[in-house]
């Protein structure tokens, strides 16, 4: 399997233009505010958790940011909707390591699906935070961090 190393692929441009699950959630069970101080990315993730089943029933987001952060958040919400909480944490871990260059989905088993298209970001260290902000914030919402998270 081969991955495109280009950062701004069509999928990313598309999710940037038309972000999915891009709205506030009235009946969320938790939410978290995340910022990337360096470039001013600023998002809020809303979760509706089924605590009994330990499943992410619904997920959405609002905020503003660069194409990478918006597309990453949009794709994350698509990908995690309906996933188990534990699995979501595992995926976070793999994603985070992938963008830092510490995990290579070309060589190792993974649960990232099409999220591997963010692999190219390894080449742009200062942009990894743009891709991972969504994920940190999602985990913050899982952990019910009221003070928010920052990638700084």
């Amino acid at each position: 399997m081969s991955y495109d190393n280009e950062l701004y692929q069509q999928v990313i441009l598309d999710h940037n233009r038309k972000p999915r699950n891009f709205h506030e959630m009235e009946n969320s069970t938790s939410s978290c505010h995340g910022i990337n101080p360096l470039c001013g990315d600023d998002i809020t993730i809303y979760l509706k958790l089924d605590e009994a089943e330990r499943v992410i029933q619904d997920i959405s987001f609002t905020g503003s940011g660069c194409a990478i952060s918006k597309a990453s958040t949009s794709l994350m919400t698509q990908y995690l909707k309906g996933k188990k909480i534990d699995e979501s944490r595992l995926i976070f871990d793999e994603f985070h390591k992938m963008v830092l260059g510490d995990f290579d989905p070309e060589k190792e088993e993974h649960h990232l699906g099409k999220l591997t298209l963010f692999m190219g970001i390894r080449e742009y260290p200062s942009r990894t935070k743009c891709a991972s902000l969504a994920w940190h914030t999602m985990v913050g919402a899982l952990d019910k961090k009221s003070e928010g998270v920052s990638t700084e």
Partner: protein, 417 residues
């Protein structure tokens, strides 16, 4: 569009090609493309005259200053004080003793907020800043006002990026202790009416700090003309080494101030019970200073003087006018900040693309701009944008580099639309 370009070729204000040959970094390539460096507001490159002066000093002349009486040390102390005189002359300060060396503008402003502020700003007093300040000229005053129970007031900014002076008039009261504004805004390029700001502040008995981080590299400064009480600057933004900066402070004001950083050299006598403080500037220069960097700063000032600050300002102004016209022609591009008096800074906002994406794309073309809030979040909030891409020019930039920027921006807009 090639109009201004032609003018600059036929009747050059500066010999930019010759100047560029002094700056080793400007001939660098980034990913196979020639570097186009337009982040001079963040930091500037150093001419070989500065780099070599520091190398020579460290190799042949280095010694500590003030503390020793052997000749090596006397020599470096003399060079150190000569550099102080150069700074004084460069800023139009009456005496060398009114120049304090610090590690940069941030440290200088903190010094004033601490040593003047904590002493003279009390509960119920007021401090005035503006809506277009760098964090370095915002946070120290917030902290001070918080601690003292004083009120922080903010001069608003009009849509064109100019301060609303009628509002400033209303903010001034006899409780105003200090007014702190920048000479040139790093986010918008606005040149503020610092003479008027100072005069009016003095009329109500307030002191005035002018943050000159963005003015000292680009225009002739005259602290006596402005009549401000403090004027701060950073060496690394004015073609000098990193790690050095300073401020002008009126002696009569500095003499009333408590020390900031304490330790060696800022004291007259230390016993375990009591310490008496030295006179300014020594009072504010505790510890071993950035010796080699001070020498480098002196060399940078020599370099700037040799070109002439008036010429530098005139040339950069022509770059700004050219760039403004060029970019205003681009659909979907907005320049934030269009003050009548403006330094060569273009804060760019594209409908189609986020500044961070713009920076990464420009970088692919070898063009270095800064994207973000430029440590001026309140300014970004005021203009309703999360961030901008900022082109900040220096006298070593060429018109053709502005052309390249415009071309690249057009490409980006197309790509993201």
């Amino acid at each position: 569009m090639s109009d201004t370009n032609t003018i600059s070729i036929d009747n050059p204000i500066l010999d930019v090609d010759k100047i560029r040959s002094d700056f080793p970094l400007l001939s660098k390539e980034i990913g196979g493309k020639p570097l186009i460096y337009l982040d001079n507001g963040a930091t500037t490159h150093k001419p070989k005259q500065v780099i070599e002066r520091v190398r020579k000093f460290d190799s042949d002349e280095y010694g500590t200053v003030r503390r020793g009486s052997y000749r090596l040390c006397e020599h470096s102390t003399q060079l150190y004080e000569e550099a102080r005189q150069k700074v004084a002359d460069f800023l139009g300060a009456p005496t060398r003793q009114e120049i304090v060396f610090t590690s940069g503008t941030t440290q200088s402003i903190n010094l004033v907020a601490h040593s003047f502020g904590r002493k003279f700003v009390n509960s119920g007093d007021e401090v005035i800043i503006s809506n277009i300040e760098h964090h370095a000229n915002t946070v120290p005053w917030q902290v001070l006002c918080d601690e003292k129970g004083a009120t922080l007031k903010v001069i608003p900014v009009a849509d064109n990026g100019e301060l609303v002076m009628e509002e400033y008039d209303k903010l001034l009261t006899n409780k105003t202790r200090i007014v702190a504004v920048n000479h040139v805004s790093n986010a918008l390029g606005t040149i503020n009416p610092v003479n008027e700001i100072t005069r009016k502040a003095h009329a109500v008995g307030a002191k005035v700090l002018i943050d000159g981080a963005q003015s000292t590299p680009h225009m002739k400064v005259d602290v006596q003309g402005i009549n401000c009480d403090f004027y701060t600057f950073s060496g690394h933004k004015m073609y000098a080494p990193s790690g050095i900066g300073g401020m002008f402070g009126k002696m009569e004001v500095m003499e009333t101030m408590s020390p900031y950083v304490t330790g060696g050299d800022m004291i007259m006598q230390v016993t375990l019970e009591k310490t008496t403080y030295a006179k300014p500037p020594a009072r504010f220069e505790a510890g071993t200073p950035p010796i080699s960097q001070v020498i480098g700063l002196g060399a940078a000032i020599d370099y700037l003087n040799a070109i002439g600050m008036d010429k530098i300002f005139e040339y950069e102004k022509s770059l700004l006018d050219y760039g403004t016209r060029l970019l205003n022609d681009i659909d979907g591009l907005r320049i934030i900040g269009n003050a009548k008096e403006k330094a060569a800074i273009l804060s760019i906002y594209l409908e189609a693309a986020h500044p961070h994406d713009i920076i990464t794309m420009l970088d692919q073309d070898g063009i270095a701009l800064r994207g973000g809030h430029h440590c001026a979040q309140p300014t970004m909030i005021r203009f309703g944008v999360p961030a901008t891409a900022r082109a900040s020019m220096a006298f070593y930039n060429k018109f053709s580099e502005i052309d390249a920027l415009a071309d690249s921006l057009r490409k980006i807009i197309k790509f993201f639309s």
